[in-house]
């Protein structure tokens, strides 16, 4: 059943690229109200495109930009496909070598690319799936399984309407068996990657207070508590000499990476130099005895993202400040519980406060890690589909950062996600001259078509 679909995709490629470029010419910058009409226009374009091959697409208004949804097909696993039709702003515009919304094909030394804002993030990526579905519907008259399309228009501006929307629609939106999210990269020129675990994030600001006002260190130095000293002491205690985090209970829910997954990661051949070389570093700075990919994907962290206290201008001022503060974040893995860790961190800080001092905490978000159930049959199908399409076998990889949508699907809808995208690290998303390789688009559409074939 798959061969005619692939043939159709190949034959239809010029038209598919034309459709994508039409879509890219709509400047759907979600963060700038000046483009509100364009964002709406992009939603309408997308809904109309879905309708053109039979998806009963609808545009759902929100208090921000609308959601575009539609469900088509029967049987097989029920898939929820997610993408976003909004794009980043284009500043600094001077650094673009062409109008970011006059999408065009360009020949480069590395092959043909589609050049435009949103070409990779995420219009090009989401259209790989739409084109695969269109080809199936066109060749076989129907989709091989039930598919719910779900597109938002606020991903680049913090998704303010997403949580309320998922909450209000969790009845029908929980019906799918699994979500597909197409907003990530492949890991090698000929090697696709499925992201199976993403770290969670817990943020906390702490402010240590001592004296009721700033003091002169000549008059008070040695006798008065210095909140910067107290803060640095507390922060230094966060890590032991082996790089492990010293907060009691912090590692509850952290499991060792399975040997199968480690073998997958080892096979990627990624060196510390690959990860750190571009930013002038060479020594992985995490726990002793862990390799660099483990540090990034499978191990939790405690990081100080900001610190301030006392006099920080030019020159010198012999002040003992009244307060000092730091922003601390924890990347979480496995089943670490953000609420318990927040509480344990508070106790950790409180226990280290000397007399005369007090601490204020300000929470800054908390989300657990996402670890996908790779035993789900759709994972096996995905891997098989990718193996058939690509020269190198698909890798199961981790991600050091959070992808909030995957967390929301899990916590609100109870859905695992398959994070499969075809972008390249050099696509310059969020930067001038964003592009998407025609190869990414071509093999992306074929990959999704093969996955649908596996599920048929």
């Amino acid at each position: 059943m798959i061969d005619p679909v692939l043939a159709r995709l190949d034959a239809d490629r010029p038209q598919a690229l034309d459709r994508l470029m039409e879509f890219l010419k709509i400047p759907s910058i979600s963060t700038d109200p000046a483009y509100d009409g364009d964002v709406q226009r992009a939603a309408e374009w997308l809904a109309n495109d879905l309708k053109s091959f039979g998806v009963p697409a609808e545009i759902h208004p929100t208090s921000g930009h609308p959601m575009v949804t539609g469900t088509l097909g029967d049987g097989g696993p029920h898939l929820l496909f997610y993408g976003h039709y909004d794009v980043q702003p284009v500043d600094p515009i001077d650094l673009w070598h062409r109008d970011p919304f006059d999408a065009a094909l360009e020949d480069t030394a590395a092959g043909q690319v589609i050049r435009a804002r949103g070409a990779s993030d995420d219009k090009g990526q989401l259209m790989t799936f739409v084109e695969a579905a269109r080809a199936w519907a066109s060749v076989h008259g129907s989709l091989p399984c039930r598919i719910t399309f779900f597109f938002e228009g606020e991903e680049e501006s913090g998704s303010p309407s997403l949580l309320p929307y998922l909450d209000q629609n969790k009845g029908w939106m929980s019906e799918p068996d699994i979500a597909l999210i197409c907003d990530t990269s492949r890991i090698g020129e000929d090697r696709p990657a499925i992201t199976t675990q993403l770290r969670g994030l817990l943020g906390e600001e702490i402010t240590v207070h001592a004296a009721s006002r700033d003091l002169h260190s000549g008059s008070f130095g040695g006798a008065a508590a210095n909140p910067i000293r107290i803060l640095t002491r507390i922060l230094a205690d966060l890590h032991g000499p082996d790089g492990r985090i010293q907060i009691p209970g912090f590692y509850d829910g952290v499991e060792e990476t399975s040997s199968a997954l480690r073998a997958d990661w080892d096979a990627l051949g990624i060196t510390p130099e690959d990860v750190l070389g571009d930013v002038g570093l060479s020594h992985p700075a995490g726990e002793t005895g862990r390799d660099v990919l483990e540090m990034l994907w499978a191990r939790p962290t405690a990081e100080i993202n900001g610190i301030t206290g006392g006099y920080t201008g030019a020159g010198f001022k012999t002040v003992l400040p009244a307060q000092a503060s730091a922003k601390v974040s924890f990347r979480l893995v496995g089943r670490q519980d953000p609420a318990k860790i927040r509480e344990a961190f508070h106790s950790f800080v409180q226990e280290r406060l000397p007399a005369d001092c007090r601490v204020e905490f300000a929470p800054h978000g908390a989300g657990p890690a996402s670890v996908m159930d790779t035993d789900h049959p759709v994972f096996a199908a995905t891997r098989a589909a990718l193996d058939a399409e690509w020269a190198e076998p698909a890798a199961f990889v981790g991600a050091g950062g959070s992808i909030p949508i995957a967390g929301y699907f899990k916590t609100i809808l109870g859905l695992d996600s398959i994070l499969l995208g075809f972008a390249r690290e050099d696509d310059q998303i969020h930067s001038p001259n964003e592009k998407y390789d025609v190869k990414s688009f071509e093999k992306g559409t074929r990959s999704w078509a093969r996955l649908l074939g596996e599920l048929a």
Copy 2:
């Protein structure tokens, strides 16, 4: 010989107060070029006043404001008397209840005061000595010992001309046996104080660099060195659990306070509450087993005066910054060598730098502690003079901060200083509504007259 001098001071008091108020009416704000003419006028007023009782005063131009000098008298120890004729700015002017340069006597619940900018700091204080000398000259036709008067006009603006002046004039300026500096406070309403030791100060800024640019903690957290973490670790290592500073060799040159001096300090009855209560603290934060005055006056410190790194604005940003920096200062005592400590601190930091990181240092001044030779006969004479004048015996005290002039006299001229002033802690120097108690002025002039009597 002293009685007629004291009688003359008492009889001449109204005229002495008039002279002081005339001096105070000259707005000699040294930091503001708009007042350059007034600063010059104050120098001239002071030189003329010295000449009026026989001192061959001269005004020495500098690249900034002039020095006023003059030497009179023979025999006995040769004294160098220092004061400054410039004053602080008056902002915020709205908080003054009268024109800061329309000096006047005011009756207050605590007694009569002279109200004006500079009344205490330092015109009122320096005139206590000038009046004492005038009374001696007038009653006995000469001074009882040789006195060199030395006044600067830039103390409130960082004394930029002082070091070059001392360097260029160190020949004749090294001739005196000891310096008298009248710019400090008495310690009780009826208890004068001589400051016999001042802590030195060493300032150093350190900047820890890691990656070549700011990183996202999702992409790099756990693998990339975080300079804030490294900096807090280094700073936390500065102090041991007993509050002692861990830099090797740091305590070289630090001696225990003599039992005589400790007895003096104990007799002051100063509690932690006296020192810390006003700023909302109650627990002395220095080395275990030291009392609060030792911590302030006799023990060295390492303080972090400022720290900054990463994102410090509102909200949160999961950044791993490229650098983080701190301003660190050390208060020094005894014979601690600032140059050696700077070097030891550099090594201390370098040894704690992990791979991939580098540190930059920026020096911010270095001055050793001043510990006066209290065996000098002028100290005994001063104590005797004060005991005769005041209801309570004079205390030998320390100062937690530096008084740069005392350090310069020691290092450039080789002179110890007797720091004796009569101000009160509530004089509001550098603040609106500065005042000097008439009692401070009266007993100050009498104290200096008695000291000259002791030296006669």
